[in-house]
Structures are given as C-alpha cells and as structure tokens.
C-alpha cells in the first residue's frame, strides 16, 4: 500500500487532474450539444456563446424527419451488431488455432495478419467492388457485413490469440483428461475465461462497423440502405458550406446507440477483468 504524509492533498490533486481530463474530453461533446440547439443565425455569430441564446429544436426535427436519420440509424445498428457477432464467432476458433498451433502455418498466418493491416482502403476498393459485383453482393447489407468482417478480422485475430496465449494449457489438458473434445474445450473452458477478450472484440467490431464511411459510401446505392456515417455526410455541402445545426443534432443522436452498447458491455468487461483476482 502506498502511504503518504498528506493523503488528502494527494487525493485532491488526483481528483483535480481527473476532473481536468474529463473536462478536456467532454468539451467537444458539450459544444456539439450546444450547437445542436442553435439556429442558423446564431451559428454564424463571430463570437459564439456556449449556451444558446435562442434555443431551438428545429435541428433535431430536420435531422429526424427531413433526412430520415432513424432509418439510417437502424441500418447502422443492424450492420454493426451482425458484424460484431459474426466477427467474434469466426474469430474465436480461428484465434484458438493460431494461439495453440506451433509451426510454419501459424507463423505465416500471423505475419499475413500484420501485413494485411498495411493496405489502405483506397487501394483495394475497386477490385473489392468488382468481386462483390460478380457475387451480386453490392448494394446490400450482406455484402457490407462481409467486407467489415474481413476488414476487422486480422486485428481481432491478433488480439484474441494473445488473450488465449495467456490461458494456461493445463486447464485444457485437464479438460481433455476428463474426456472433453476440442470443441468442448474451446466452448466450455476457453471461451468463459476469455470474457474480457470477447467483450473487447465485440466492442471493437461494433465501433469499427458503426463508424465506417468509405465502404458504405461505395457499396451502398439505394437511399433506403445507407448507414449513419453516409447520411451524416449529406449535411456537408460544397466549398465549406455545412448545415452545422442539423449535423450537430444528427451526430449527437448517432452517438446514442454506441453509448448504450458500451454501457451494457462495460459490466462484463470489468467483471471479467476482476474475476479470479482474489483467491478463496
């Protein structure tokens, strides 16, 4: 235990530093909130104020009703949730093989995972589009989810295989002695111990898919299929003319589902981290 002569001073200092950091993080969000309640005339004031002088709900009306934001949000939610689930479902057994297999194949697989992270999106978008077109998967959420799965999988494999390496082999050997098959070992022994890793995977895959813009822009054409990032881009006009108020309102609404998702998953993340910390 760390002891100090002035514990109260230290605690006060720590809380003050934490408060400053939180304010630093919160200011952009609070400013976004402020902008979302300002009308167009107030938004172009040379010396803007933090608190709207003439608050209005017009921006939210425009975002929700004129620009069909809810529909785009549902599309994003669907794509992000399915991407998270499928990526985790595919990634977990694959990461197990990479973590537990020794040899050239495993090493080559890990190197390939690292190399694939170096490809910029712009380099592969046209060949990817052509492949998906031949499979009749353009302009569909199925095609988009497939792309997100492939795009997120390398990082998730890398992350999960390092988690799995941290689990002692003794547990698997003990289960094998008790007659468990390989699949039962993965599902009943490895997976429960990987709760924090699985939660992080789900969060990463969800956030990546939720925020992704370029693939959605290129692959989706029907207005009814567009996701939130593409819908938000429609608030930006030419030569720097932006509909700031509706964009702020839409952006704020767009953060709500991911905040809810985080708050739900956070419990399992922290409980998984702490489990087994205290013996007996």
């Amino acid at each position: 235990m760390i002891t100090t002569r002035h514990p109260r001073l230290l605690h006060a200092g720590q809380y003050a530093a934490l408060a400053c950091y939180m304010i630093f993080l919160a200011i952009p969000l609070l400013w976004l909130l402020s902008v979302s309640f300002k009308g167009p005339r107030e938004l172009v004031e040379l010396h803007p104020s933090f608190i709207p002088s003439r608050p209005t709900l017009d921006n939210y009306n425009i975002a929700l009703h004129e620009n069909d934001l809810v529909h785009a949000g549902v599309n994003s939610l669907k794509v992000a949730v399915l991407t998270a689930l499928v990526t985790t479902g595919v990634g977990l057994p694959a990461a197990y093989v990479l973590a537990r297999t020794r040899g050239l194949v495993a090493r080559a697989g890990l190197v390939w995972i690292l190399l694939s992270q170096m490809f910029p999106t712009i380099l592969i978008i046209i060949p990817l589009f052509l492949v998906l077109r031949d499979l009749h998967l353009t302009n569909s959420h199925t095609g988009l989810i497939l792309v997100y799965l492939v795009w997120a999988l390398p990082f998730i494999l890398w992350m999960l295989q390092s988690y799995i390496r941290g689990i002692p082999r003794d547990l698997e050997e003990a289960a094998a002695v008790d007659g468990a098959t390989r699949l039962q070992i993965v599902v009943r022994v490895i997976a429960p111990l990987l709760a924090p890793g699985v939660v992080v995977t789900l969060l990463f895959a969800f956030i990546s898919a939720w925020n992704e813009f370029f693939f959605a822009l290129v692959l989706l054409q029907s207005p009814g299929l567009v996701t939130l990032p593409v819908k938000l881009a429609q608030f930006v006009g030419i030569e720097g003319i932006v509909r700031l108020g509706p964009l702020a309102a839409a952006s704020l609404l767009a953060t709500v589902p991911s905040l809810l998702f985080f708050s739900i998953m956070q419990r399992w993340l922290t409980s998984g981290l702490l489990s087994g910390a205290v013996k007996g």
């Binding site: 004129e66 689930l85 046209i126 589009f129 052509l130 353009t138 822009l217 290129v218 593409v230 720097g240």
Partner: protein, 424 residues
C-alpha cells in the same frame, strides 16, 4: 448471468437477421421501367424541389418510375469512378461539366444528340451546350450555372461613401480594388475572400482579363501563365499583401467560413459563388442588408460556364425513357424551381425570367440572371486529366501563391510542369 447474456445476444441476432431479410432495394414500384437517378443536391430547398419533381413525374408516368439516389456532393467523382468501373452506374447521373471529359472519353456517358428533342435543344443557348460538347459528342444536359460575385454589406459601403455598381455600370477590377482599400479601416477589411479552394474561382475570374491558363499548342493542350492570368493573380495577391484590403486570415479558409466575419461587419465585402445568396438569406442577422453585385470587369466580364449537368450513362438500358425524364426535369418550370433552391443561374433563359417575376429577391436575381451572356465554355471542360491536375497540382500551387509563400514565377513553373506530369 452468462446464460442471460447469450440469450440476449441470440435474440438480438435473430431480430437483426429478420430485419436484414427485408433489406432489398427500397423504392421499387411495379413499373415496366425503373430509372435510377443519382443527384448531389444538398441545399434543403433544392432537395425538396427535386423530390417534388420526381414525385410529380412518378405520379404522372406510372410506366416509367424514377428512383432518386441522393449522394454527398463532395464524393461525386469517386462515386462515378467506382460505379462506372463496376458496371453498376445509375441510369442518370448528376455532375458538372468540368468532370465529364474523362468519363466521355472512356465511353461511360451516352451521346444524347439523337435523343434530345428539338424543344430541349432550342431552350438552352448554344454557348452553354458547347460547354458539354466533347469531340462533337454531347453527353449531358446543362442545367444550372454559377458565377463568382462580390457580395456587399450595403450599409458599410454607404457609410464609406461608395456607390454600388449596377448591371449597366459594373465595377472594374480597379474600382473594386479602390473600394476595398477605402473600406479597410478601424480593424475591418474591405474584403473577406476564402481562398482554400482557389482553382475554380481563378480559372473563372482570370477570363476577365482574357486569361484561360490552357492553350492549344501543336495539337495538344499546355498551361501558360501569361499576361491575362498574371493580371488577375497579381491583383488578388497584391490586394492581400500590399494593399492589406483582403484579410490574409481568410486565405486559408473556405468560402463559407468567412461569412460569420462578413455578417459581423469585419468585412465590407466578400467574394463568393452566387449560390452563397442562399446562406445570406438563411444566416444573415436580421436587419443586415446585403447585395449581390454584378460581375467584375477586366477587359470583359467573361466567366467560365461550368454548368451542373445531367447525363445518361452508356450502361443504361432505358436511354429513351431517361431522356424523357431529363426533358421534363429541364423544362422551364422545373429549372426555375431547381435554380431558385440552389441560387444558381438556369441555363434556360425563360426559366430565368420566370424566376425574376416570382421572387422577392428581385434585385439580386436580376443581377444573377443577367450574367448568363457572360458565361462561355472554358478549355478545362474538355481536358481529361483536369480533375487530377486541379486536386494534385493547381490547388496547392495557388494556395502557396496566395499565402505569399511563392512568387508568380514559381506558380507558373508549378502549373506548367505539373500539367505535363499528369499527362505523361
């Protein structure tokens, strides 16, 4: 707890899968022909006007239905490149003339000379049709045009004892420069000019002095910074760095970003695309009096005709039906609605007259519509590699010049050699 989590996740997945089963293309009706119409309209008024036009067409043409696809205006080129390459281009695409040369050369756009009606042909001046004619082929219907104008704070000019120009007596560049200098005082600048995207405005306004940057030499196009180009460039540069009448801080900003300072009285004037009038109406403080001034005059008032365009793609299986819709879209009444929403000049003069009669912003619209005769095709409309030259060479070179980081000689070298490099 783990069991509950698993059940919750499984239920969510089932719901999502069930919803995704119905994720087929929306907006399809049972029609003999469905046209996909891509548009990049973004002003709320124009978005509404376009939806109304499409809805009216669909109601009156049950056998030819139009499915509107709205995209972000800043991604039009990338969208078209990808969809043309992938063979999934919509039937009708909305773009601008300066972007079409490459697509026409690659055969992605249909030649509409045999498809367009005589009525449509005659409703738009030949000069504007020439802006969308590539090697004899006409691959678009030109609709809305823009100009670059000076917007003035009427009260600031009045207080400074400066008389506003009129259509018959427009300002010359010399008069504009003198007015800007006179209005630069007490911490305020005569002009706020967002020059973050300097290429289009420079290509257009250099024509005031006869400078077009691109010239035919020995069968190929070359870039030259000659007398006309230099006169425009040096005038703007010297207004920033010698007269001090254009705010240097605005040089790195976009056009829209200088508007707050203009409304606050920090700038007496601002140079913008004429479509910025829509922002003036929406955002100017109540009581703020602004005016759209007539085109500045050098040796002429000429500016570039770079109209918005609607093209039929070669991949379309319904070119005749697409042309029918475009003819309807480009009629005087609809052109008036689209122009009014975007504050752009309709290529159809009758639409312009209708607009002036119907609007309460009579003065500014009269100035805008009166600019149509000054618009003429620019060589860049016909250059395949112009989009690449604009983004990779001309934009950084002009930004450096207007930020006083390079000389006119450096700029000339950068542009001429840069053009050669993109055409290798």
């Amino acid at each position: 707890m783990r069991k509950r989590l698993s059940i919750a996740l499984a239920a969510l997945a089932c719901a999502a899968l069930a919803a995704s089963a119905g994720s087929a293309q929306t907006g399809k009706r049972h029609a003999s022909v469905t046209l996909n119409f891509m548009t990049y309209v973004w002003q709320p008024t124009t978005v509404t006007a376009t939806k109304q036009i499409v809805a009216a067409w669909n109601a009156s043409h049950p056998s030819i239905q139009v499915n509107e696809i709205q995209i972000d205006p800043n991604t039009v080129h990338d969208y078209l490149v990808t969809n043309f390459a992938g063979g999934t281009a919509p039937d009708i695409v909305h773009d601008e003339a300066a972007d079409l040369a490459g697509f026409t050369k690659q055969g992605y756009l249909a030649d509409i000379r045999t498809l367009r009606s005589a009525t449509l042909k005659q409703s738009i001046p030949k000069r504007v049709w020439d802006a969308v004619t590539y090697g004899g082929k006409i691959t678009a219907v030109p609709t809305l045009l823009q100009t670059y104008n000076v917007f003035a704070n009427v009260d600031a000019l009045k207080a400074g004892g400066i008389k506003l120009p009129t259509i018959k007596n427009p300002w010359t560049w010399t008069q504009f420069r003198a007015a800007a200098k006179k209005l630069t005082k007490n911490g305020a600048f005569g002009v706020g000019w967002g020059l973050k995207s300097p290429v289009s405005v420079s290509m257009s306004m250099a024509l005031n002095f006869g400078g077009s940057f691109f010239y035919k030499q020995g069968g190929s196009w070359v870039v030259k910074v000659g007398k006309g180009e230099t006169q425009y460039l040096e005038t703007v540069h010297d207004m920033i760095w010698k007269d001090g009448s254009i705010d240097p801080a605005g040089v790195g900003l976009s056009g829209g970003s200088v508007l707050p300072a203009f409304f606050a009285g920090k700038y007496a004037m601002t140079v913008q695309g004429n479509y910025a009038a829509q922002q003036m109406i929406l955002e100017a403080p109540s009581g703020f009096r602004w005016a759209l001034l007539p085109l500045l005059k050098g040796t002429s008032q000429d500016q570039m005709a770079d109209p918005q365009t609607y093209s039929i793609t070669s991949q379309s299986s319904h070119k005749k039906e697409a042309m029918q819709f475009l003819t309807y879209l480009a009629n005087a009444q609809n052109m008036q609605k689209l122009a009014q929403g975007d504050w752009l000049i309709p290529s159809n003069p009758i639409a312009g007259k209708k607009l002036i009669r119907s609007t309460k912003h009579y003065g500014s619209w009269t100035v805008a519509v009166s600019s149509l005769p000054a618009l003429s095709p620019h060589p860049l409309n016909y250059l395949t590699n112009y989009p690449q030259f604009k983004s990779q060479i001309a934009t950084p070179a002009l930004q450096a010049y207007f930020q006083n980081k390079s000389s006119i000689a450096d700029l000339s070298t950068a542009l001429t050699s840069g053009w050669l490099s993109v055409n290798k």
